[in-house]
């Protein structure tokens, strides 16, 4: 009997690369104990609850002593991906401006699909600690728009729909990174 696959993949995405095996092993050990005592349903529910509650803590620490050069490399990679995402997103916006848009949701989904795709690309490029890098990159992007707006910089005030798209980019990019991890985890375990 194995723990829920998607929950395992989320742990793999959120945990620091150096600690993934340790955290997953601890969860697996307790999962088997709970399953023998209370059955698979109880154990699966426990595993999911632990996963969801653990994600913020797992994202908050790192054991790796990455060199400054490596950190700089990751930062530049993230910046490059964000710039590329903004370029593609602007193209999407231009295409939508020339069309009869219909529902706002179509517009939202188009932008968020771009964010999901670029979240996956960023996860692919940074390889280790991908979900945390994607989360902080998306947060950085949002703050780049929020700070000038809060400071009252002319031209920085967006519409409500614009803000929804912007804040939605954080979960969308994380979903992209998570999906990439799920696919990679599935391929790795199949080997």
């Amino acid at each position: 009997m194995r723990p829920p696959f998607l929950a395992q993949a989320l742990v793999a995405a959120a945990a620091p690369a150096s600690d993934y095996e340790i955290v997953a092993g601890d969860l697996h050990e307790e999962y088997l104990r709970i399953m023998h005592a209370g059955g698979a349903k109880v154990a699966n529910r426990w595993y999911w609850a632990q996963t969801v509650r653990s994600i913020p803590s797992l994202l908050s620490y790192s054991r790796s002593n990455r060199s400054a050069l490596r950190q700089l490399g990751v930062a530049f990679t993230a910046l490059g991906v964000l710039v590329a995402m903004l370029v593609i997103d602007t193209i999407v916006q231009i295409v939508f401006a020339g069309m009869d848009q219909g529902s706002d949701w179509v517009w939202f989904c188009a932008h968020w699909t771009v964010a999901v795709a670029f979240g996956a690309i960023l996860a692919r490029l940074v390889k280790t600690d991908s979900l945390r890098v994607t989360f902080f990159a998306a947060l950085f992007l949002v703050l780049c728009f929020v700070i000038p707006a809060v400071a009252g910089h002319p031209g920085s005030q967006a519409t409500l729909a614009g803000w929804i798209v912007l804040w939605g980019a954080i979960p969308a990019m994380c979903i992209g990174a998570g999906l990439y991890q799920v696919i990679r985890h599935r391929i790795d375990t199949a080997r």
């Binding site: 194995r2 959120a14 945990a15 600690d19 095996e21 340790i22 955290v23 997953a24 092993g25 601890d26 969860l27 697996h28 050990e29 307790e30 088997l32 632990q50 509650r53 653990s54 994600i55 913020p56 803590s57 797992l58 908050s60 620490y61 054991r63």
Partner: protein, 110 residues
């Protein structure tokens, strides 16, 4: 003890639990013992994040054990309390004792 080296409540609990369990305590064991003793059910991620913070403060040290079948072939990280950790616990207890001195909880209204 320098400022910033004081123990937070959860750090205090985790450090005491590692000391109770002795050398070789590991994540799942620590989490289960916290649940048994305090009735709180912490997330395993919170336990590991706290242990990492304690290790950075040099209050505990860790080493990687062998992978075992009951853990899906995954290794454990074992922990032990260092001398500075024991000192931090002593300091925390003295502080609490000083705070409690002269305070009667029996007379205090809820």
């Amino acid at each position: 003890m320098a400022k910033g080296e004081y123990l937070g409540e959860f750090e205090h609990i985790v450090l005491l639990i590692v000391l109770r369990l002795g050398d070789g305590a590991y994540g799942a064991m620590i989490r289960a013992e916290i649940e048994r003793v305090t009735g709180r059910s912490p997330a395993i991620g919170a336990v590991h994040a706290t242990l990492e913070r304690l290790e950075r403060k040099r209050l505990v040290s860790s080493w990687i054990g062998e992978p075992t079948a009951e853990r899906g072939g995954k290794a454990k990280r074992h922990f032990k309390v260092e001398a500075d950790g024991v000192l931090a616990l002593k300091h925390a207890r003295q502080t609490l004792e000083r705070l409690h001195k002269g305070v009667s909880l029996r007379d205090a209204t809820a």
